[in-house]
Subunit: 319 residues, 2 copies
């Protein structure tokens, strides 16, 4: 059997069984946005995420500084989703030998800017020669309370900050047109893909109020399926409450596409979707309620007025 027959999550399930963990200081192991260990009462979060040339980015379609910024942001987003603040990063990089020093320095300038913005440090690293560029960041963080995927309860509200689906539109524009001669809204959409900013402003409140949280990297619906499964509850999105970005709207009008498809299945948003008790929604005035938690069970549903339909468990697809 090959990996593709088993799928990413089937494979991970098998592998984590092999690596059974017996250490009692490990509070959370595989299966969430972060792992969590106890060091003298401090809850330390661990996560890692890679940017691999040809897989996660195409060199001519992203500025090196943005790439450095992005690899930090995608990791910070995992830390934030668990209610944490990023602290110390360790970066493993691979570069072709004929890559220009200036290019690499610009990547590191982006990393440094992101470190300053998120108030964290990259404290060490490992360098290797490789055929294609990769940046593999391992990031630790701290949290007062770990916010898991599996804590959502019936009747709680589902919230998110800002717009979804823009990153996917930005990627499409960059793939089609490159980075030059773009309209303002096209540039903004591309920036959502190439230079995302994690919801760092939510960290502290998530650890205080959120029952569950997940970083949207695969797409809203795909990631909510993880939350649904981990929590053992149905998740209901309210179609009329999903915020539609004006830039995405304009892009979709131009292309004859439905913004909803981008919002539900876009991916790479690096925003945190989370659940809270209804009374605590006021703690997040800058965020929007986009749905709620239904009965015990599993599945992600879209409610449009009185009609509720189950959504397909998939990443982005063209209509």
């Amino acid at each position: 059997m090959e990996i593709k027959d088993l799928g990413e999550f089937g494979l991970i399930e098998r592998l984590t069984q092999i690596l059974s963990i017996k250490d009692h200081s490990v509070l959370v192991g595989f299966g969430d946005d972060c792992s969590c260990i106890d060091i003298k009462g401090e809850k330390i979060l661990f996560t890692s995420d890679i940017q691999l040339e040809g897989r996660h980015f195409i060199k001519r379609l992203i500025q090196p500084e943005d790439l450095g910024w992005k690899v930090v942001s995608v990791n910070v987003s995992d830390i934030v989703a668990c209610g944490g603040e990023p602290k110390w990063g360790f970066i493993s990089v691979g570069f072709p030998k004929d890559l220009s020093v200036e290019y690499v320095e610009n990547i590191y300038k982006g990393i440094k800017k992101a470190c300053d913005f998120y108030k964290m440090s990259v404290i060490g690293g490992n360098t290797t020669a490789s055929d294609s560029i990769f940046l593999d960041l391992f990031l630790t963080g701290k949290t007062d309370r770990f916010v898991p995927r599996g804590g959502a309860e019936e009747g709680q509200m589902l919230m998110v900050c800002g717009y979804l689906g823009e990153a996917r539109a930005g990627l499409e524009i960059a793939m089609e047109k490159g980075l030059n001669n773009l309209a303002g809204y096209e540039k903004r959409l591309i920036k959502r893909f190439s230079r995302p900013t994690a919801d760092i402003h939510l960290s502290d409140r998530l650890s205080r109020y959120a029952s569950a949280g997940i970083d949207i990297s695969d797409g809203l619906v795909a990631d909510l399926y993880h939350l649904s499964k981990a929590s053992g509850v149905e998740v209901i999105l309210d179609k009329n409450k999903l915020p539609v970005s004006p830039d995405l709207k304009r892009y979709c009008q131009q292309k004859g596409k439905d913004p909803l498809e981008y919002i539900l299945y876009g991916g790479e948003d690096y925003k945190v979707v989370f659940t809270v008790d209804k009374r605590d929604t006021i703690q997040f005035p800058e965020c929007k309620v986009i749905g709620f938690i239904g009965a015990k069970g599993e599945g992600v549903f879209l409610k449009d007025g009185s009609i509720v339909k189950k959504l397909e468990k998939k990443g982005f697809s063209h209509l």
Copy 2:
């Protein structure tokens, strides 16, 4: 300017300048085998090391279980060199989609065996599809006292456990003959390359007695140059005290080569070379004194009776 013009260490120096660290809980940043942070008085070590197909291993020349074992061992060796014990690992992996599930499971069985052997856990990970296999392990550890590269002092003894140079011979045999129809000594030498064991038994004593330590991955001389530079001292190897493995001797006889070249420049040994006061050498009865620390300065020298010559700063080379 391209990376190859600057060299690995020149590049790292530039990049670490960009990432200036201001966090006071960072006790050791770039430039040693591990970084070290203070979490409520605990000294936590960070390191990472990758195994990249085509660069660090050739798939047909290593068993997947050995590969899993090796990626753990090479990281543990960095932790041990700083006087630490490994605790929690986080693994980032890339696999081609047509790789067999069995192959990947065998890698993880090797990782698990190594975790049990070194009394540590891999507590999380990240999976991505990639053209070639990579295993990037980030490993944390704990130490009571950080053993740096820069602590060696004049008159101290230089020690190492076991034989050097075998891994390089093993790699050569595997490259030339493959893994089948091998003599016993050839199999043992290959095992040194493909399934190295870190000096975990030294951790505790290194943190108590060693003034400096470094993991031998690039080769004895190349890594001693790092120790020499960091400590600001000359390092003198005693030719007649360097232990020569019987297997390496046999291989070199067969090939008409000089074992000394392998011992000095072999690389991939993953043994710790360390310095201690003369009176403390008895704390390491299973290790051998292979030299001593000379005057303030920089350089690695080979003493043969009364003749002392400076050794070239290089990795492995054929005579």
